[in-house]
């Protein structure tokens, strides 16, 4: 004999509740993005104006963070030499999920002015999934801020899943890294 009190049908499946939680999480993640400023190249000079009174990224909830463990965004600003890329991959793997990569400048896109150099890689998203590219050989601050807002949009409509891509086809990325860099985890005489 079913009780007469009104009990709603429990038809929300577990995946459903998870997705609901994930959306709420997205709202928080969107509104409090922490940057790990991996200032590899010359585009890093665009960041101070982004933080100070002119553009003030803090009103978007964004702020600089000291260590990869605490950061959400890995901000690649400028060209990536082989040695820097190895450290970048190591740091990327240390960040806590979900994590995003924002690449400033044209160097991560196609090698930029260093496209023909033996030391600089030409396309960043072969090695690390990049969510937002901000083109320009040194994009001005407004472009950078737009890039961040685009990232927020992507998080909102759940398309900023570079980190999931990194999980799923980790082998492909790994193979690319080995092909270009030889080996990621290097030993040298000072740190052994």
């Amino acid at each position: 004999m079913k009780s007469t009190k009104f009990t709603p049908e429990r038809n929300i499946s577990k995946a459903e509740t998870d997705r609901k939680w994930w959306e709420i999480g997205d709202f928080f993640r969107r509104n409090s993005l922490w940057l790990l400023m991996y200032c590899t190249g010359c585009c890093a000079i665009e960041l101070p104006p982004a933080m100070t009174s002119a553009y003030d990224m803090e009103r978007l909830g964004m702020g600089p963070m000291a260590t990869p463990r605490q950061a959400d965004i890995l901000l690649v600003s400028g060209y990536l030499s082989l040695k820097t890329l190895r450290r970048l991959i190591y740091t990327y793997e240390q960040m806590s999920e979900p994590r995003y990569v924002v690449a400033l400048g044209s160097c991560p896109i196609n090698g930029g002015i260093y496209h023909d150099s033996h030391a600089v890689i030409n396309q960043l998203d072969q090695y690390v999934p990049v969510d937002v590219y901000v083109a320009g050989c040194m994009p001005n601050t407004e472009a950078v801020m737009n890039g961040f807002v685009d990232l927020m949009e992507q998080i909102k409509n759940k398309s900023a899943n570079g980190w999931k891509k990194y999980h799923d086809n980790y082998e492909w990325y790994r193979q690319n890294q080995i092909q270009s860099l030889g080996e990621v985890d290097v030993h040298d005489e000072f740190h052994d």
Binding site: W21, I24, G25, F28, R29, N31, S32, W34, T52, S53, A54, D56, E58, R59, G61, M65, A66, T67, R69, Q70, D72, Q94, M95, S96, E97, P98
Partner: protein, 303 residues
């Protein structure tokens, strides 16, 4: 005084209220500091967003001591907050709010965090913990001398101290013991880790010190712990020096003023080296504390 589950729940309520109050005031303060630097500044609930964002992320853990330390830290701090009286009439455990509980249960929180930080295996964390303990050694002694004077005058239960200050004829200890108030505020800056004494979370030098290895939920829990610690320390200052509060709104007002003043001073200061912190605290604050204690106890001049 029989202790029932109700007391525990009230205590938990106080702790939660403390967390919410402090987080929102911290948000407001970030706004004020933003406006100070002529920029827009974040929303007032930005701190909440940060904390819940951290709790939603998937973190990494370095072993059972790394997690147990965080749990012990947050547990210790919540326990301390449960004892905290909000107004002179309202507190969870009646007359058991002895001053020493706060100082020493706070130490349990510090121990938990220190343990898990150095358990994370990162040298930055150990250096951060060393600096935190050295700073604690620095600001604690002058503060305790002033507390000695207050307890000598008004007994060691916080509500007792509040009632003493609110009684007719007596005024706030900030006015009754002026030097004590100054030393208390400087020690509060040390306790909160505000800028001149922020050597143990120095983001530039040791990559945010003990917090270097925390991400996701551990960092979120440590942020909650930090907020509640700040609540405890600032409300201690309010109860000890500003005469506590008869109703909740006065308490919130005094709380806001003290925290904002501390924050503003913090934002115009550089950062001390760790041995400068120790020599600073053992020079003027200690001398002031001794003079104040001498005047208050032996000469009996309590204004």
């Amino acid at each position: 005084m029989s202790i029932t589950i109700l007391n525990f729940l009230i205590g938990l309520g106080i702790a939660f209220f403390g967390f919410v109050l402090q987080t929102s005031i911290a948000g407001l303060n970030r706004k004020i500091v933003g406006r100070l630097q002529k920029r827009v500044g974040p929303r007032w609930y930005q701190e909440f967003l940060d904390i819940f964002k951290l709790l939603s992320k998937r973190a990494t853990s370095h072993g059972w001591i790394f997690d147990f330390g965080v749990i012990m830290a947050l547990g210790g701090i919540i326990a301390t907050a449960m004892f905290m009286p909000l107004t002179s009439t309202f507190n969870a455990f009646g007359t058991y709010d002895n001053f020493f509980i706060f100082v020493y249960l706070l130490a349990v929180g510090m121990l938990g965090m220190a343990m898990s930080a150095s358990g994370s295996g990162n040298p930055w964390a150990s250096i951060g913990v060393m600096r935190a303990l050295t700073t604690m050694l620095a600001y604690e002694v002058p503060f305790m001398i002033i507390i000695l004077t207050i307890i000598k005058i008004a007994g060691s239960s916080l509500t007792g101290i509040q009632l003493y200050q609110q009684a007719a004829g007596n005024n706030w200890f900030l006015i009754a013991l002026p030097l004590g108030g100054i030393v208390g505020f400087i020690s509060l800056m040390g306790m909160l880790g505000k800028k001149p004494f922020e050597t143990y979370i120095a983001p530039a030098e040791i990559a945010s010190g003990p917090m270097v290895e925390y991400g996701g939920k551990q960092l979120g829990m440590l942020f909650i712990m930090h907020e509640i610690t700040v609540f405890i320390e600032v409300s201690l200052f309010v109860h000890l020096f500003l005469g506590g509060a008869t109703n909740i709104f006065i308490f919130i007002l005094k709380y806001f003023l003290v925290y904002t003043l501390a924050n503003l001073i913090s934002n115009v200061n550089g950062r001390f080296k760790i041995d400068q912190v120790v020599t600073f605290f053992y020079k003027w604050p200690l001398i002031l504390a001794i003079v104040q204690a001498f005047i208050a106890i032996y000469l009996g001049w309590v204004i």
